[in-house]
């Protein structure tokens, strides 16, 4: 079964899956199992949440907290980049 998720979470779980495939962090390589485990961990840390999408399916998205954090990181990076340019 495909687990539906937004771009932010997709990037995170893809990285985790890549790491799992290389055998660096775990033994399993089943994609959905890796995705499910990562999403469960992100839910516990308050970074991911389930919701019912417009098609009536359960999907996952980054919480406002994680979105704000990533936005801050991006703004910091842009500020640093601009400072280096000068």
């Amino acid at each position: 079964m495909t687990i539906l998720m937004d771009e932010i979470l997709q990037e995170i779980v893809d990285q985790a899956y890549g790491a799992a495939c290389l055998g660096r962090t775990s033994d399993f390589s089943d994609q959905d199992m890796v995705f499910a485990n990562v999403l469960a961990e992100l839910e516990v840390t308050g970074d991911a949440m389930r919701y019912v999408d417009a098609e009536g399916r359960i999907a996952w998205k980054a919480t406002p907290c994680l979105r704000d954090y990533l936005m801050d990181l991006q703004l910091d990076a842009e500020a640093e980049f601009e400072a280096e340019d000068v």
Binding site: A40, E43, V44, G46, V52, I58
Partner: protein
């Protein structure tokens, strides 16, 4: 016979439920800390999204019971998931039984009649606001309702239509 939608493959742990409650408590705090009149909608949307997922999994009352247990709270009346989430995440000094009941009626009305792709805020405003929606609930779904509703579980009707028709 229509099957229920396939349940989410990721199991919801107690820790995840706790984190979810904290997130919604954060929305409550935000609502309390701002002068924005629309901030209450953000809080209600968070409550609505959570119960919608529980309803989708067919376990709304079970999850409501668990969060009451997690927050060491109990209810005297019939357990209603929206009211339970509000009871567990909002300040009881500021949200009394009547307000909780009103918000719960608004959310139940939206769960029954709102299209899945329409944001809750837009829907409630389109229907005249919180008080109007609560009154609409009384007319359509409450004790003095005019029409019979065919489903007993909010969102079921829409989910069946969306998923299988």
């Amino acid at each position: 016979m229509l099957d229920r939608p396939t349940p989410a493959p990721v199991r919801c742990s107690m820790e995840a439920l706790e984190a979810t409650l904290r997130r919604i408590e954060g929305e409550w705090e935000h609502y309390q800390s701002t002068r924005d009149r629309d901030a209450v909608y953000q809080y209600l949307s968070a409550v609505f999204e959570l119960v919608a997922v529980w309803e989708h999994e067919g376990k709304a009352v079970d999850f409501a019971r668990v969060i009451l247990w997690l927050r060491h709270r109990s209810v005297q009346n019939k357990l209603e998931p929206f009211a339970a989430v509000i009871f567990c995440t909002a300040d009881r000094q500021k949200v009394d039984y009547r307000t909780r009941s009103k918000w719960s009626r608004v959310l139940r009305y939206a769960a029954e009649f709102k299209d899945l792709d329409e944001p809750l805020v837009a829907y409630i405003k389109r229907k005249g606001g919180i008080n109007k929606c609560a009154a609409r609930f009384a007319r359509r779904l409450g004790r003095g309702r005019r029409t019979e509703v065919t489903t007993h579980r909010p969102l079921d009707r829409q989910l069946r239509q969306r998923t299988f028709l």
